[in-house]
């Protein structure tokens, strides 16, 4: 891969804290290598700002290998930027060319209030899991792992849903700021498995209720969530969630 350097204009959302008004700030960065990751480009920007005696841009990041779900930038109108099935930390600068302007915003949703600059509070996701995103089994209660065979297809479907990294791109991408893809991935992960069967009705009802309480919007089947999901979580999970919810609320044996 031929390597090249570039100069860029960045328009970045700056906001002192949750209460302050925010605004876009424009920065110039020079000599950015095409081999850098997008966040390494931000490292360069921040080092430059610190050297100039200015305040760096706050952004969330941790593993920088696409699995922790911490990074959360809205880049030129796309959650996690332009690459398919990708997190911000895995986006690399060879996507851009000299002279480009890049606009970077935080996730925008009422349920994800801004903490500072590009950092948002995603505790609402934890609250949804607390409402039922688990199987009630205390340590020490388990039987032998192979005493419960599970069809490979179901195990694979469950895994595909459980691959969600809880980053919130689905919410950020959705015009309604709905958390349906996140919620449905957790419901589906547990509903595909026999271990999840005992609590499946309560789980789905309680989790949906909690999602509404957190201030997420409604799902209108737009599909932006699936398109922007870095882990390819499928819309089929939402269909599965709706079935689970219907059965739980109309079956009458709750």
């Amino acid at each position: 891969m031929e390597h090249y350097n570039m100069n860029l204009t960045l328009k970045v959302w700056k906001q002192k804290n949750a209460k302050a008004a925010g605004r876009f700030e424009t920065y110039q960065v020079k000599g950015i290598s095409s081999e850098m990751s997008f966040l390494e480009m931000f490292d360069v920007l921040n080092e430059q700002l610190i050297a100039e005696g200015k305040e760096p841009v706050a952004f969330d990041h941790d593993c920088r290998e696409g699995i922790c779900g911490m990074c959360s930038m809205y880049i030129n109108g796309r959650a996690h930027g332009p690459w398919h099935h990708n997190t911000t930390c895995q986006l690399h600068m060879r996507e851009y060319k000299d002279g480009d302007t890049i606009v970077v915003e935080p996730w925008r949703a009422d349920a994800f209030p801004v903490i500072k600059d590009l950092v948002v509070n995603r505790n609402s996701f934890d609250h949804i899991v607390q409402a039922g995103g688990y199987i009630s089994v205390n340590t020490g209660n388990a039987q032998d792992a192979n005493s419960l065979p599970i069809e490979k297809q179901k195990a694979d479907d469950s895994f595909a849903a459980a691959a969600c990294i809880g980053c919130g791109a689905c919410v950020a991408a959705c015009p309604n700021a709905s958390a349906m893809l996140f919620l449905s991935a957790k419901v589906a992960h547990l509903a595909y498995l026999p271990q999840g069967d005992v609590e499946r009705k309560e789980r789905v009802v309680n989790m949906v209720h909690q999602m509404d309480k957190e201030g997420f919007g409604s799902c209108t089947n737009i599909g932006a969530c699936e398109a922007e999901c870095p882990k390819g979580i499928s819309l089929e999970n939402i269909a599965k969630l709706n079935r689970e919810y219907m059965v739980a609320t109309f079956a009458g044996d709750r």
């Binding site: 891969m1 990041h61 941790d62 593993c63 934890d126 340590t139 792992a145």
Partner: protein, 658 residues
Amino acid sequence: MPLNNRIPAGDLDTKWEKYKSTCKLVNPANKRSIEIIVIGTGLAGASAAASLGELGYKVKAFCFQDSPRRAHSIAAQGGINAAKNYQNDGDSVYRLFYDTIKGGDYRAREANVHRLAEVSGNIIDQCVAQGVPFAREYGGLLSNRSFGGTQVQRTFYAAGQTGQQLLIGAYQSLERQVALGNVTMYSRHEMLDIVKIDGKARGIIARNLVTGELERHFGHSVLICSGGYGNVFYLSTNAMGSNVTAAWKAHKQGAYFGNPCFTQIHPTCIPVSGDHQSKLTLMSESLRNDGRIWVPKKQNDSRKANEIPADERDYYLERRYPAFGNLVPRDVASRAAKERCDAGYGVGASKQAVYLDFAAAILRYGKIEVGKQGLEHVSEADIIKMGKEVVASKYGNLFEMYEKITGENPYEVPMRIYPAVHYTMGGLWVDYELMTTVPGLYALGEANFSDHGANRLGASALMQGLADGYFVIPYTIGNYLADEIRTKSIPTDHPAFVAAEKEVFDRINKLMNIKGTESVESLHKRLGKIMWDKCGMARNEKGLQEAIEEIRALKKEFWSNVRIPGEVNEFNPELDKANRVADFIELGELMCMDALNRNESCGGHFREEYQTEEGEALRQDDKFMYVAAWEYKGDSQFELHKEELVYDVVHPSARSYK
């Protein structure tokens, strides 16, 4: 104080059973008034917090990330070992125990490792019950694969995301306890000191990373589950926030630090591409099942990989270690790559890389497919196409990750890889009960030193984290807390809390008021370079002595010239980082002292003065069959204590992979 490892008497295979049956218990009513603080929510912390909450203790859990689900255990790829013997291939508790002791180059404690092997099976049961979607066969039963350093298939996995799935399982159990009110979760909080009262750990000072406020929290006991310290090298496969701060504060409050120089350099990581590099990405050990590692036979060969004919390639692992070939353990593979690159045979722009080549595997799998499907007259291009599909089904996600980072397609050109810092076997010294040398202060998972000796085997870190949290601490902590039931919660206006908070406050203000010219990042990079060059894959006396001097000078510079922007009482990631780097600098010095003291080579610790004629590690069992446990005595002052390692069952011998 002499070190007492509190290993129970009796035969190795009955110690744990006997301990569990005879340790003291805390009754359910008393558990409700006992508070436990857990620092870190990775596999060890989340499993401990959830299990202790289930038992009825009042738990407070802390993590610096925005959610406990993001702890770096999430990034573990390959799998988790367990002695289930589901494959009927001769596995047993003893074999897992033996492989781990041998893999650790005879520098781990027999009793701890045996217990780890004993509970390994329970972990898989527990995780399946929680709904962890492990890989399965068509019959619906669990699938296994094999990892380095073993001859059986005992590794359970969930694609290349085993750590993620196990952590989500523990996280869900943790959130259930939060919902039930047994655990209070403090995310975006960092522990900045341990509070001791009458010699016992009784709480912590934590900083709320959103508001910058300092908080005092009481606990009858404190558990450090904060992971490893690989980021002392700046570049590592750790997450950006992974740090030693909680463990280091514990150390400065009296917890000894065990074998700090034992670090694991993983052989297959994506190489550094330039000075801008912020972290390194691992390519799973499983790739060495099918990839062949080579460099050109000619020095400074500038041809592209595909232009170099087969007879001009040096498959150096196959050449040096015909018995194990590309599947030698991590420490051996890493040193061999360094040796070739240092000798001028490295590849890529930086010349600090070797090839990991899948061309042969693609061809082999393609031919197998042709045979399976009974096809005739198939062109080589079609065979390769079929082979690529097979390779994609095994390693697709890793190949995709490689391409995203490097922009190169590993199906067409060999991967370029180089060793990188990955895991730290050293950590807080703990006894059999996982208690440090401070009463009431425990260390679990990668944060302790106990189970992996001088080199950890693949797929054993997840096993140890969950063993400690799910199946060890729920028993051993009761043995301590049974004597604490009369201790009422201590109000946090106690003078010890006031004094500890003042110390933290003063230190933060001191840092903020330096107002120098150099950024935290830049000072951290300089520390990393010293550590990597002189306390990395190969170490020698002169280099280590130089490193100690250089680190002391760097410490002075840090405390007189660091520049931290922003304010104390706000969200300030640069200040968080400064707190961590200040501790890494102190730890780095101790690591070099430990490496200098250990005049032998073992596992990941390679002292150039101690090697065989063929360049293999040379242990000095008569002098160094001990755990080096360092006591903090003041600035740059550490006293060495030794815990002799006694092998009752396994007989240490030289590891050979030839």
